[in-house]
């Protein structure tokens, strides 16, 4: 483990600034002074082990928790964490990016404006459907497993197979803004939008890692438990 529960939370955040994004998802408010990870987690009723698991995936893309680590961690916070991430992407980041893009598109020729907005509209739909599938199909299945109910005809393998890629189009948009949109169109706004895209793209990557390295192994262990009964 890179981070320990005895570290000051402020030190953890400063050592990896992208972890600031997780606070809102854990419903941790800023202003925690010199408190350690353990203290802040206790005050917010978060399992510190789970909090550290997320922090470690964020800090090292090669980090893979062991089966024991997953078995000994209270995972009740996982689905709320993932849903809060979805909400952040859909209700905050994507609308923010859309506003930027709208202003840039307004400065383009009408046919270019049309195609840019249509492209982003499609992307938004794709992301919405991706999250909707998880929240309406995958997460209820996990809840039923936790309640020791078997649901017939579904397994986490299907999720792995159908897990669509929502990062490609974001990279495409980044390339278009850097390389192909004429240089005189809103240069300042474009640079600011590029930063937003880089940040969203890297956070979505980590989000996918959390699903691959924590969610899927965890659900597989639940499935094995249910099957053994």
């Amino acid at each position: 483990m890179f981070f320990t529960s005895k570290m000051k939370l402020s030190d953890v955040l400063i050592s990896n600034h992208s972890l600031v994004l997780t606070l809102q998802r854990f419903k941790i408010e800023l202003g925690f002074g010199e408190k350690t990870v353990a203290e802040v987690c206790r005050l917010n009723s978060i399992d510190p082990q789970f909090f550290l698991l997320i922090c470690n995936v964020y800090s090292d893309s090669h980090y893979l928790p062991t089966e024991e680590e997953i078995a000994h961690t209270d995972m009740s916070g996982l689905l709320p964490y993932l849903i809060a991430s979805h909400n952040y992407y859909l209700c905050e980041r994507i609308p923010h990016i859309e506003q930027h893009l709208n202003r840039i598109a307004d400065a383009c020729k009408p046919n270019h404006k049309g195609i840019l907005l249509r492209f982003f509209g499609e992307y938004k739909n794709e992301v919405q459907n991706h999250f909707l599938y998880e929240e309406k199909t995958v997460f209820p299945y996990i809840v039923s497993l936790c309640d020791n109910r078997k649901s017939e005809g579904y397994s986490i393998n299907q999720f792995e197979e159908n897990h669509s890629n929502i990062e490609d189009k974001l990279e495409d948009l980044t390339n278009i803004l850097i390389k192909y949109l004429p240089g005189d169109i809103m240069p300042k706004e474009r640079i600011s939008l590029l930063f937003d895209l880089f940040q969203l793209s890297s956070d979505l990557n980590t989000h996918a890692l959390i699903e691959d390295k924590i969610l899927i192994p965890y659900v597989e262990s639940l499935e094995n438990k249910t099957a053994a009964q």
Binding site: F119, K169, D172, I176
Partner: protein, 193 residues
């Protein structure tokens, strides 16, 4: 003739082990070794290796992302990372492959072979980033929503050829989705609507 490997590694133990292992293999031969990156460009001209195995730890921190410029005299020689510490994937992606310290001989040989094969594939298509006329024609049809098969029939080419064109288009533009390619085509005035 054996494929000449140039090993750049600091640890004498690892160097000796690597050379010993590859001796058991008919295809590769460690032709030269170095334990530092100092004056590496000069050594390269003399050694003329077919493939380079390099421990990324030897690269100066400030050059982690630009180290390939040191090897620019041999642009088609693949460089494989020899890794036994954690390295950021952002660094490793500048290599053409990765050998890990616990890899066995068959694994090492297959990784080196793979890197050589894909390097020779690269040299067939030189570093031209502008789309060729053929690629542009394929792109326009893709942007119009045609399938690989329809494009193949239309252009009297095999589906396989169309897929190769598509791969090159993605490699050159960095754009993966059809929707993104449509935007590209429009911004470059290749299509109207």
């Amino acid at each position: 003739m054996k494929t000449k490997v140039f090993l750049i590694e600091k640890s004498p133990i690892v160097t000796a082990g690597f050379c010993q292992m590859l001796q058991e293999n008919a295809q590769f031969d460690v032709d030269a070794t170095a334990d530092t990156m100092d004056r590496i460009a000069e050594r390269l001209i003399v050694v003329k290796p077919d493939i380079i195995v390099l421990n990324p730890q030897l690269i100066d921190n400030s050059k982690l992302f630009t180290f390939r410029s040191l090897f620019q005299d041999l642009p088609n020689v693949p460089i494989i990372a020899l890794v036994y510490n954690y390295f950021d994937s952002q660094v490793l992606k500048h290599f053409d492959g990765m050998v890990e310290i616990d890899d066995n001989l068959p694994k090492i040989v297959s990784k080196l072979t793979e890197a050589l094969e894909s390097a020779s594939g690269h040299s067939e298509s030189p570093d031209i980033y502008d789309l060729s006329d053929r690629e542009r024609a394929v792109l326009i049809k893709l942007a119009k929503g045609m399938t690989n098969k329809a494009i193949a029939t239309d252009m009297h080419l095999s589906v396989h050829t169309i897929i190769t064109h598509r791969k090159n288009i993605v490699k050159k533009t960095g754009i993966k989705s059809i929707a993104g390619l449509t935007v590209y085509a429009m911004l470059n005035n290749l299509i109207e609507e």
